[in-house]
Structure formats: structure tokens, C-alpha cells
């Protein structure tokens, strides 16, 4: 006789999966009904709270402060003309005091810009340049930069900029702009425990901007703002409003003992040629003949102290230093306010200046059918899309599906595609893209195991947002997945990890690689790429830059082990 427990087991083991069409039909019909019954749904209670938050002075202040980050770097937001500089800074002028931290880029452990705001003045420091303090006076349009170690004081005049009528695009409050957009939409993220604080989140978007605001549910005051614009992410965190501060901290007077210099900051638009000139300077004068690690704003912020030091060592006159600084600012402006279509791509890390065969940067100008490709010798060519450099990293999948199927089992299951790039340093840089198909209900922790215990996870992202992770044992990591994003359809997890080439088993034909996915998967694909300067080439076809040595499906139930395969490479002749 079959006992009751066995029947229960049979029921528990019963599985039914729905097609995406079924999911879409049911969700669409339910949503339609929701819209019929709650026409005001998008402006319901949640929206009211959103409005309260948006009216809060701190948001305006913080948003404007984010914008002003760039002022000292020679950056400005570009919106429609006709709005004055004063419009942009007005929210800051209105605010009494505030303290906030700003991070540019994904790395929350990267350099932090710390702002103290009092009325129209901001006192700004950066974690990686502790002896430099900037006082920004928005009312007069001036910045006073004080360097404690050298006792230098520099006034940067911002006010001269709008003197060119209708040329300088001015700034407006980003969030107001967002709200005024006809495509503006806001999505509640619910309440979450973030860094020990219970916060309520709102994700506001229009086609060009993406802002997530986390607020204290009791006061509706925002404490964290995450903004994505193009390829730039800015995080505003630890926001506190009405913090008592000593007015002397915001003085625009040059302190006694400081040597005064005066300069002007040209915030006018930047061209491709400005960008190339910056690349040349960064490689030639600052990079010992090789191009920099990265050209994003966050890369520059990280390198800023080293760049400053290097400029100091060049033995330039003050005038020459100033000109060099201006050129670098313009170089940065090109990226900060990138006006091309889609994304720009940089692949110049470690490439020597003058290497004519190596494409280091490419982008598609607005309304252009072809790409502009900058090579290692800094010449530029127009290239049709099919002839683009092969080593372009796949873009992170951010398309939304209907989520993943939740099941009674405790493990996540998906598909995985790996790209292993063998670099000149003897490191393999690995991008593992895992798309989740099934997962346990309500569980946001996921364990992953690297195929090599000596591998090191560098970052994990979902829909371009960072995912916290912790190492358990060698090669084993635990991820804290953003369940909301996953359930909303962002089921692609991108894991960047590195491995020393020495860890691969050497063979007569090259290397033998263990094929193992991070989680149980139903399919696994491995692509191997060689960077041009890595000193290796594919034995069968040296002209190729990448190769797919393995693609396969697990037979029966999902698995992690797919055996091993050979990579046929040899040293370049």
C-alpha cells in the first residue's frame, strides 16, 4: 500500500511549466483589468509618496549636487537651451544644509566624493585626494580649490562660461526634467533592508534617464539616489539634511599662507579630436607609452591623484600645467556627455601608443551608419558594423522577460555562456553570463562555484546593477540577488572573474580547460578570446581573435560538469 507521505511526494515532485505566451497572456489580461479598475493606479498612494519625496528639498539638492560633481572636472549636464545656470543651482540655494557622499561608477568601494552643502556653497573633498578641498560658490559661479600640502589656492571662474549666449547648455534639475518627460514612469520597489536600514524604493525612468531613489518610509526623505545615464552611473548615498555646520568651512577667502592662482574653466563642448588628444596625453605623458586602464569618468576619478602627481613631475610651467589640465578636462567631457548612438567601447588597456593594428576605441556618431574606430596610432577610420573589432565584449543582457519559474527545489537552474579572454599579463578575464530559468521561492541567496578554486570573482551584476557577494571557500561564493529585479524579468546574472593562465593544465596543443558552470545549467557555451598583445594565437587559424571550443546541453537533469576541452593555441611567431 502506498503511504500518504509517498502521495505527498508525488504531488511535490509534480511540475508544470508555463509558456512565455501563457505568462504574457495572463499577466497582460490581469494588468488590463487592473488599469480598468484603478485608472489612477500609477498615481496612487505610492505615487503620492513619490511626490512627497520629490518635493523634498533634499532630492533637489542631492540631484543638483550630483550634477555639480562634474563642475570641478569640467563637466555639465546638457539639456535644452533657455534654462539659466541659476535654475540649476536654485535647489541648492534653497536648501539650508546637507551632507552626502557621491560615487561615480559601479564600484561602491571606489573613490567617494564627500559634499557638505550650506546654502549656495558646497565644500567638496575626495577620498583619494584628502589634501584637496574645493569650495564651490554657486551664487557667484566660482570654485576655490585649496591644496593643503602645497599651500596652493586656485580660483576657478565658472561664471565666465554663460557669457557665450546660447552656447553653453545649462543644467536643470535632473529629476524635475525626468518628471516632465512624457515617457516618465515610476515603479515601486517596495521596502527593503539596505545596509541595515529599512528603505522604500522608487525606480523612475524615461528613455534617457534611469533614477532609483531610496527613501526613509517614515519621513519620505531620500537617503540614497542611484542614477544611470548612458554608460555612467552615479550613486548618491548617506544623504543627511539640515546637519549643523560651521559657516567658516564654506569661506571663499584664501586662507593665510596659501599662494593664490587664478584660472578659468572652459566647460564648452568637446570633440572627437579633444578626446583623441586626451588619449595621446594619457598614454604619452602620463602612461609610460601605454593607454590607460579605462576612459570612463569613474576610471579617471580613480586615477586622478596619480595623474595630478604625474603632471607635477613633468616639470611644466604653471601655464603649461593649466593647458594640460584643460585638455584632459575636454578629453573627459567627450565621454561624460557622449553624444553618439548606443554605447562607446574602449579596449586600449595596456596597448602601446603607436600600435597601428589595434583598435582601442569605437563608437557610432549620431545618425551615422558607420562606426568611428580609433586605433593605437590614434588614426581614425570609418568602419561598417560587420567589420568592427572582434573582441567587443558582449553587452550585458538587460532585456526584461517574465522572470523565472519558482519551484519547490532549493537550487537555481539556468543557462550559461562564458567568454574567457587571455590577456598579456597572463591573466584570464572571464565573463560568465548566467540566465536563470528556475529558482526557489522567495530565496535571494545563490551559491556559485568557480571551476577553479584559485579563481577570484571581481564583480557580479544584474541589469548593470551591482550584486553583493561574499567568498565562502576557495572558488565558492554566495550572491545576494536582487529578487525584485529577477522577478521583474532581469534574469541575467553577469559574473566577472579572473584566473591565472598558469592554473590551466598545459598540453601539447595548448591548454586543457575544465568545463564547469557556476550553477546547475541546462546548456553551457565557452568562447575563448585572445587579446592582440597576449603573445598567443589560435593554432588552427591565427587570424581569428576568438573561438568557441565548446557548446553543449546537459542530458537529463541540469548539471554543472561538462568534462573538459582543449584550447589549441601556440605562441605567436
Amino acid at each position: 500500500m502506498i503511504p500518504e507521505e509517498k502521495l505527498k511526494t508525488l504531488i511535490n515532485q509534480s511540475q508544470v511549466l508555463t509558456s512565455s505566451q501563457t505568462d504574457e497572456r495572463i499577466i497582460a489580461d490581469a494588468v488590463d483589468r487592473m488599469e480598468e479598475l484603478i485608472p489612477q493606479c500609477s498615481s496612487g498612494a505610492g505615487r503620492n509618496l513619490w511626490r512627497i519625496i520629490m518635493k523634498s528639498p533634499i532630492v533637489k539638492l542631492a540631484a543638483a549636487a550630483v550634477i555639480i560633481i562634474a563642475a570641478a572636472l569640467g563637466i555639465h549636464y546638457i539639456v535644452s537651451p533657455g534654462i539659466t545656470f541659476a535654475d540649476v543651482v536654485q535647489p541648492i540655494l534653497d536648501a539650508k544644509t546637507a551632507v552626502l557622499d557621491i560615487i561615480v561608477g559601479q564600484d561602491e568601494n571606489g573613490p567617494v566624493i564627500h559634499d557638505m552643502v550650506m546654502g549656495s556653497r558646497i565644500r567638496r573633498t575626495m577620498s583619494n585626494a584628502p589634501d584637496v578641498v574645493s569650495i564651490i560658490d554657486l551664487e557667484t559661479g566660482r570654485i576655490l580649490v585649496l591644496t593643503a600640502s602645497s599651500r596652493d589656492a586656485v580660483y576657478i571662474d565658472l561664471k565666465s562660461l554663460p557669457s557665450i549666449p546660447n552656447y553653453l547648455d545649462t543644467i536643470k534639475n535632473l529629476i524635475t526634467k525626468l518628471q516632465e518627460s512624457p515617457d516618465f514612469s515610476v515603479e515601486e520597489l517596495g521596502e527593503q533592508d539596505i545596509a541595515g536600514q529599512k528603505l522604500i524604493g522608487f525606480h523612475a525612468t524615461n528613455p534617457k534617464l534611469d533614477v532609483t531613489i531610496w527613501a526613509d518610509p517614515r519621513t519620505a526623505l531620500p537617503v540614497r539616489i542611484e542614477q544611470i545615464e548612458g554608460q555612467l552611473k552615479v550613486i548618491c548615498r548617506n544623504v543627511h539634511f539640515d546637519v549643523p555646520m560651521d559657516q567658516s568651512l564654506f569661506s571663499m577667502e584664501v586662507p593665510e599662507g596659501y599662494k593664490l592662482q587664478q584660472t578659468a574653466l572652459d566647460l564648452m563642448g568637446s570633440t572627437e579630436q579633444d578626446f583623441i588628444e586626451g588619449l595621446r596625453i594619457r598614454a604619452q605623458a602620463l602612461g609610460d607609452g601605454t593607454f590607460p586602464e579605462g576612459v570612463a569618468v569613474e576610471d579617471y576619478l580613480k586615477e586622478a591623484p596619480a595623474i595630478g602627481k604625474k603632471i607635477g613631475e613633468l616639470g611644466l610651467s604653471e601655464k603649461e600645467q593649466s593647458e594640460l589640465g584643460m585638455k584632459l578636462a575636454k578629453h573627459l567631457l567627450f565621454i561624460r556627455f557622449f553624444k553618439g548612438e548606443g554605447k562607446w567601447h574602449y579596449q586600449g588597456r595596456g596597448v602601446k601608443l603607436g600600435y597601428a593594428n589595434m583598435p582601442i576605441f569605437w563608437y557610432r556618431p549620431k545618425d551615422s551608419q558607420t562606426y568611428r574606430v580609433i586605433y593605437g596610432d590614434l588614426r581614425v577610420e570609418d568602419v561598417v558594423p560587420e567589420n568592427l573589432p572582434e573582441l567587443a565584449l558582449p553587452e550585458e543582457k538587460t532585456d526584461k522577460g517574465v522572470g523565472y519559474q519558482q519551484w519547490s527545489k532549493s537550487e537555481f537552474v539556468g543557462n550559461q555562456e562564458d567568454l574567457w579572454r587571455i590577456t598579456a599579463s597572463g591573466q584570464i578575464e572571464i565573463l560568465s553570463d548566467v540566465t536563470i530559468r528556475k529558482g526557489p521561492q522567495g530565496i535571494a541567496t545563490m551559491s556559485i562555484t568557480l571551476p577553479y578554486s584559485s579563481g577570484t570573482v571581481q564583480s557580479v551584476t544584474v541589469a548593470n546593477g551591482p550584486v553583493p557577494f561574499a567568498q565562502k571557500d576557495g572558488g565558492q561564493y554566495q550572491l545576494q540577488l536582487p529578487l525584485e529585479k529577477l522577478l521583474a524579468g532581469h534574469t541575467n546574472i553577469r559574473c566577472r572573474w579572473t584566473l591565472s593562465l598558469d592554473q590551466l593544465e598545459k598540453a601539447d596543443y595548448g591548454y586543457q580547460v575544465t568545463l564547469q558552470s557556476l550553477i546547475p545549467v541546462v546548456s553551457y557555451k565557452l568562447t575563448v578570446a585572445l587579446t592582440p598583445d597576449c603573445g598567443l594565437e589560435f593554432s588552427k587559424d591565427p587570424s581569428r581573435k576568438q573561438w568557441v571550443p565548446f557548446t553543449g546541453n546537459s542530458l537529463g537533469s541540469p548539471g554543472t560538469r561538462f568534462g573538459s576541452c582543449g584550447i589549441e593555441v601556440r605562441k605567436c611567431n
Binding site: I2, L10, I11, S14, S20, I26, V31, R33, M34, Q406
Partner: protein
């Protein structure tokens, strides 16, 4: 490190609250979270995947219609499963009146599968369960599934079906005995 853990009921309460506010994302999340349980119940009760899908569809549309007056006191899963059972019962009655049901009680559910990536699959266990269930009277199927799959007490089942607790228990016992015989017989084959 960010924490994303809440008690299951808290998460559901938040989801319901957001659905009340008109959050489509929350509605999608409710669907994604419970569709499997609901569909499994409907398939086991109705033997037909496409009708089961329609039942789940109706349950979610009705959930939206009632969400404003809905107060989550127990579990959202239990509530949705009860709705599914009620809806399936109504479908079964309607089909019975129309004379299109129970024509061949040994028929198992109609299963279909599309492309692997876009799966609509009832696995082997469900096919086996459904084939066995199909040989039971509908009322017995319902009590067995609600008790074993939805973990509902006989008291709750009795209230939801407007029958006495003893009736619910006896339906369960009779159904279970018959199910055992069917599955034992299947195993002997």
C-alpha cells in the same frame, strides 16, 4: 551587505499592498510566485492543461478585481489556491451540465510541450498523478489536492466547500484509498 530576506507572509503582504496601489510589477511577482502551485492544482483537478490555464487566468483577473477589498489574514498562496479550487469546481460543474466532462475518466490530462526554452511541460510525475486523479470523483480529488498540495486543514476545506468537516474527511479517506489502489495497480504492471 544588502539583505533581502523577509518572512514569507510579510513579503506577500507587501505584494498585496502594492497590488492595491496598482503596481503591475507586484502583480507580475504574485503571478510568478504562485503560478506553478495554482496550475498544478488546476491540472490535477481538471485534467486539461488549456482549461487549467484558463482557470489560473480567471483567478488572477479576479484577484485584481477583488484586491481592493482584500485583506490578507492567512497566506496568499492558500487564498489563491482556494480561488483556483472554486474556479475549477465551477468549470467542472459547467462542463458537467454541458455533458462534456467525465466522458472517459481514465483519460489523463492533455499535455503539450513546445520548444525547450518556452516550456509548457507537465512532468512525468504530474502525468502519473493526473491520470490517477482522473479516476476519482471530482469532490475527492479536490479534498486530496487541497489537503496534500495546499496543506489546508479539513476545517478550512470544509468551510471553503460549504460541507461538514466529516464529509471532507471521508471524501479524503475514500479518495486516498482509491488512489492507493490505482497507483499500486499501476506499480504492479
Amino acid at each position: 551587505m544588502q539583505k533581502f530576506f523577509w518572512p514569507a507572509n510579510m513579503e506577500d503582504k507587501l505584494l498585496v499592498l502594492r497590488c492595491k496601489r496598482g503596481s503591475k510589477v507586484a502583480l507580475t511577482q504574485v503571478y510568478q510566485k504562485y503560478k506553478r502551485d495554482l496550475l498544478l492544482l488546476a491540472v490535477a483537478l481538471l485534467k486539461d492543461v488549456s482549461i487549467a490555464e484558463d482557470v489560473v487566468h480567471d483567478v488572477f483577473v479576479r484577484f485584481v478585481e477583488d484586491v481592493h477589498n482584500f485583506r490578507l489574514t492567512g497566506s496568499l498562496k492558500g487564498y489563491l489556491l482556494t480561488c483556483t479550487a472554486n474556479c475549477a469546481r465551477n468549470r467542472n460543474r459547467a462542463a458537467f451540465i454541458a455533458g462534456s466532462v467525465e466522458a472517459n475518466p481514465k483519460d489523463s490530462a492533455c499535455f503539450r510541450s513546445d520548444e525547450p526554452a518556452e516550456v509548457v511541460i507537465c512532468n512525468e510525475q504530474l502525468q502519473r498523478l493526473s491520470a490517477a486523479m482522473a479516476q476519482l470523483p471530482y469532490e475527492q480529488r479536490e479534498v486530496i489536492m487541497l489537503h496534500l498540495h495546499a496543506a489546508m486543514t479539513f476545517d478550512t476545506i470544509a468551510k471553503s466547500q460549504e460541507i461538514s468537516v466529516n464529509t471532507a474527511k471521508s471524501r479524503y479517506r475514500y479518495g486516498l484509498d482509491k488512489l492507493r489502489l490505482i497507483l499500486n495497480h499501476e506499480a504492479e504492471k
